[in-house]
């Protein structure tokens, strides 16, 4: 089951992506109990709009075709509950940047961090222009400030301590 969950998590890079996916799961749970029980969930999800929804629906459809997706409503509910729990437990790296990152740079960051930590990582990106450059990193309760503002402050402190 965890392999299936990982396939969903691969579609998630940022905290915003995770929130959207969790909303989609909630909607899928609701739709599972609407209409005829024999109708595949992917058909019901077709009513949902937006690219992200289409991606989610596509994944459900693939699983249905592969025969990996549970057929009964109760099993589907259990599947989605497990998926929500798995996604919510993924570790988050918070990065405070001085600029708004592009999608490509987010991919680069996610790939780098997943390689270094050997774990699936959710990026929580905040933009604060006043840090000038560099970034602030927070991971599992640890915090580091690698911003240019911090460097400037260090220079200022050093300068102020000179006789």
């Amino acid at each position: 089951m965890e392999e299936l969950f990982k396939r969903f998590s691969e579609q998630v890079k940022t905290r915003e992506d995770l929130i959207v996916l969790l909303d989609e799961i909630e909607e899928a749970i609701r739709l599972a109990y609407v209409g005829e029980p024999d109708v595949p969930l992917s058909k019901k999800l077709a009513k949902m709009s937006g690219a992200a929804s289409e991606k989610f629906r596509g994944m459900i459809e693939d699983l249905e075709k592969e025969g990996e997706f549970p057929a009964s409503r109760r099993e589907q509910n259990t599947f989605f509950s497990g998926l929500k729990k798995y996604l919510s437990s993924l570790p988050t790296v918070r990065l405070i940047l001085a600029f708004t990152p592009s999608s490509e740079f987010l991919d680069r960051l996610a790939a780098y961090l997943e390689k270094k930590t050997a774990r699936k990582i959710i990026l929580d990106i905040l933009v604060r222009e006043e840090i000038v450059g560099g970034c602030l990193v927070e991971y599992e309760g640890e915090y580091r400030d690698y911003s240019m503002l911090k460097k400037l402050e260090s220079v200022l402190v050093e300068y102020s301590q000179k006789p």
Binding site: V93, L95, L97, A98, F99, P101, S102, F105, R108, L109, Y112, L113, K116, T117, E129, E130, I131, V132, G133, G134, C135, V137, Y139, E140, E142, R144, Y146, M148, L149, L152, E153, L156
Partner: protein, 191 residues
């Protein structure tokens, strides 16, 4: 005969009248005498009564005077004794009161001195604690103000940096700075 009888009757009547007159005169005289005696006796009796009354009154006055004097003397003596006793008791009570007052005053004096000493000590301790608290508060305030000042300086510095060379940093440089930072974090075992 008839005449004789009449005459005899007249004689008898005359004699009777005479006798009657005599009796009446005697009776009147006796009555007058008795009346005079009675008046005399009344006068004497009144006199005696007056004298007796006067005498009684005089004697009564004397008795009352004497009794009054006796009573007054007795009361004077009694009061004299009582006064002395009261005076003695008063003097005793006065002395007792003075002694008790003196003792109480001494006790209070000692108590007040103790309390004053204690109050002074407490006041000194409170003043010292207050001074220490004020100094600590001043220090905290000073540190707080310095922190606020620092924060303000850094904020201004950030604003200046952002407006000057922040804009000159292009996107690729930003990205490289971030990747360098992550490399540094890895070296520091952050992850």
């Amino acid at each position: 005969m008839r005449y004789a009888i009449t005459r005899r009757g007249n004689d008898i009547l005359t004699k009777t009248i005479t006798v009657a007159q005599e009796i009446i005169r005697n009776a009147i005289a006796a009555s007058q005498k008795n009346l005079r005696a009675s008046e005399t006796f009344q006068e004497e009796l009144a006199q005696m009564m007056r004298e007796g009354t006067a005498q009684n009154l005089s004697e009564s006055k004397k008795i009352i005077q004497s009794a009054t004097n006796d009573i007054v003397d007795a009361y004077q003596k009694q009061f004299s004794v009582l006064s002395r006793e009261v005076e003695a008791s008063g003097r005793f009570a006065h002395n007792q009161f003075l002694e008790a007052t003196k003792k109480r005053t001494d006790d209070l004096s000692a108590g007040i001195q103790g309390e004053l000493g204690k109050m002074r000590q407490e006041l000194e301790e409170k003043l010292l604690a207050g001074m220490q608290e004020a100094q600590a508060g001043a220090k905290v305030y000073q540190e707080q103000k310095i922190k606020e000042l620092d924060a303000k300086i850094y904020q201004i510095l950030g604003e200046i940096a952002k407006k000057t060379f922040g804009r000159s940093v292009d996107l690729s440089t930003h990205e490289e700075l971030v990747m360098e930072a992550l490399e540094k974090a890895k070296k520091e075992n952050l992850f």
